[in-house]
Amino acid sequence: MKEPNDIIIRSVAKVAVVIIFTFAINLFISGHHYPGGGFIGGLAFASAVILLFLTFDIETVRKNIPLDFKMVAAIGVLIAVLTGLGSLLFDVPFLSQAFGYFYLPIFGKTELATAVLFDIGVALAVIGTALTIIMSIGDDR
């Protein structure tokens, strides 16, 4: 069977992927105050990549994102754990989070919390795992 052309879906997918990426990052960042968070953000991000897999083929995507996602996951977990360990430096219980308000030049009054760092770890772990799984199965013939 001849390869059917995928022009419509590919062009829409490109736009969609951008939107999803943006949204995923938004979900992730605003997770502390609105629905979302590291896990959902990460998985949304992963689903964007899945969309890429679906519309393009696995080699193209892999060429463009040349990462070992298992390592991403590992680094994610490491970040999360090390964030927790950081609290040991201040002699507070493991995983104690801190937050504060800072005045940054562009954003104005901003709240920064170490929980966000923890969430980054979560997100990375989720992204890494989801993509590892998908790519492993996708690879297998």
Partner: protein, 496 residues
């Protein structure tokens, strides 16, 4: 607050993650895994000493006091168990170096091994029922992967059964947690204990307790052990040894914790039920152990007998019985790992696990043979090895509680255990030596070290029980008086 408490959990995680990053450097992985296990061992011993001198150690993670945050609690029971865990894991790791093979090493054997330890230690230390679920899952998922690691036919086949049953038990666990939460509105063990004590353990609460018992029974292999023989005979020796030593013990620990701290108000119902299940487990396990002529099967059914025996002590719910259960628990962790390693070595040397094909190994491997003999005696609780005191106290506990049938079954099954394990010894090690030295498939070089350590341990624990009695007594004291635990966690009335 004591931040040391968290280290046994996170050291393996950190090292494991680093190993994932350096995937291709096997030598580094070996060193790192050894270092991390050693570090965990040191920390656990330190913690144990600290618990002894300063009382129960707690860590309110994130600084959120119980019951709102997750609290890690190291009472003496947990301290003893994590210490034993780290020792056993260390030995299995040493054994794995020689036997596991580069293929598995390449595919994250060491990280997964470490994560398994994290899960096990986490389960022992956590003071929160939902966190217990999470730690269980860490342990289980690690075991899922380890059991299927290698992807041989038998592994795949058995791991399907193993995973399916464990997924179901996880669901049940969640269901039980949901019920408990609906009724009590809290998750912290200590807080649960208080709240349950406040309203008493009515019919529904007892039902929920039994639901928890079923969940943990599935994990511990108490009566619902059908997944166990297959699952434990599938993976390579080092893995099945660590499974045999640790996985069921976590379930047992959970039963002990739940039924001494939270649901201790109706022992005539819940504990008697545990006793009945334990009796059935022992009988079925012993029956399975004597039935076969296959080393792996004999050993796995012996795991089941051990579970039943420990829980017989728990069922008695007397100080003596608990003491016995605790001694036997520690003993069982060590000796099960030992006997699995030994059995695995026999299989490794000869390439078969069928006893009818084995004969006369002792001529070429005397050390192995004698260590097997000692382990076999220890397994069936022959004095003065480590199983004896546990057996003695468990029997005494059941007698004191009036469950004479339970004690009798326990003692009788230990005879069957002896029969089954001596069958292995006599057939594999005695008899004419059929294999010539040149035909040997492998050597025991390097394998004897971990086995030797464990053998020495079982002897030392038997003769030198006095050295740990203070720890065990302390653990039992806490178990029999939930208020110590509650006070330590909730700080209602801080201990002097």
């Amino acid at each position: 607050m004591n931040n040391i408490v968290i280290f046994p959990i996170i050291i393996p995680v950190i090292f494991g993650m680093i190993m994932i990053i350096f995937r291709k450097r096997l030598k580094l992985q070996r060193y790192l895994s050894l270092i991390s296990m050693a570090a965990v061992g040191i920390v656990t011993v330190y913690l144990m000493l600290q618990v002894k001198s300063e009382g129960i150690q707690t860590l309110h993670l994130g600084g959120w006091v119980a019951p709102f945050g997750v609290t890690m609690v190291v009472d003496m029971l947990a301290a003893l168990l994590i210490t034993t865990t780290s020792i056993v894991a260390f030995c299995c790791l040493l054994y794995a170096f020689r036997t596991i093979g580069t293929e598995r090493e390449n595919f994250y054997f060491y990280p997964l091994f470490l994560f398994l330890i994290t899960g096990v230690i986490g389960s022992f230390m956590t003071g929160d029922v939902f966190n217990l679920f999470v730690c269980f899952e860490v342990m289980l998922v690690a075991s899922y992967v380890l059991i299927s690691l290698g992807g041989t036919k038998i592994q795949l086949r058995e791991s399907i059964k193993y995973i399916l049953i464990n997924i179901l038990s996880s669901f049940l666990f969640l269901v039980a947690i949901a019920f408990l939460y609906a009724m009590t509105g809290t998750l912290n063990f200590a807080h649960l204990s208080l709240r349950v004590a406040e309203v008493g353990q009515d019919g529904l609460m007892t039902t929920v307790a039994i639901l928890f018992l079923i969940v943990f029974s599935l994990k511990a292999g108490l009566f619902l052990f059908f997944w166990l023989p297959g699952a434990y005979s599938a993976p390579p020796t080092a893995i099945s040894a660590i499974f045999a030593a640790l996985l069921t013990k976590v379930g047992i620990y959970a039963i002990v914790r739940m039924f001494t701290l939270v649901f201790y108000h109706e022992p005539e119902v819940t504990h008697l039920f545990i006793g009945i299940l334990a009796a059935i487990t022992m009988v079925l396990g012993a029956v399975g152990a004597v039935a076969f002529w296959d080393i792996k099967r004999i050993l796995t059914y012996n795991v089941i007998v051990g579970v039943g025996f420990i829980l017989a002590g728990v069922a008695s719910f007397t100080t003596v019985g608990m003491t016995g259960a605790l001694y036997y628990l520690i003993h069982d962790m060590i000796v099960k790992a030992l006997i699995f390693l030994l059995g695995g070595t026999v299989i490794y040397l000869t390439g078969t696990s069928n006893l009818r094909d084995l004969s006369g190994l002792i001529r070429l491997h005397p050390q192995l043979g004698w260590m097997f003999f000692i382990a076999a005696l220890s397994l069936s609780g022959i004095p003065p090895l480590s199983g004896f005191l546990g057996k003695l106290f468990i029997s005494e506990g059941t007698f004191e509680a009036g469950y004479f049938w339970l004690g009798a079954i326990g003692l009788f099954t230990s005879l069957m255990v002896l029969y089954s394990i001596m069958k292995v010894f006599m057939n594999a090690f005695w008899g004419y030596t059929v294999i010539k030295e040149e035909e040997e498939q492998g050597t025991t070089a390097g394998l004897l070290l971990p086995i030797g350590i464990l053998t020495a341990l079982t002897i030392a624990l038997g003769i030198g029980t006095q050295a740990i009695h203070e720890y065990v007594d302390l653990a039992v004291e806490v178990l029999m008086n939930p208020s110590f635990y509650i006070e330590a966690v909730l700080g209602l009335n801080p201990k002097p």
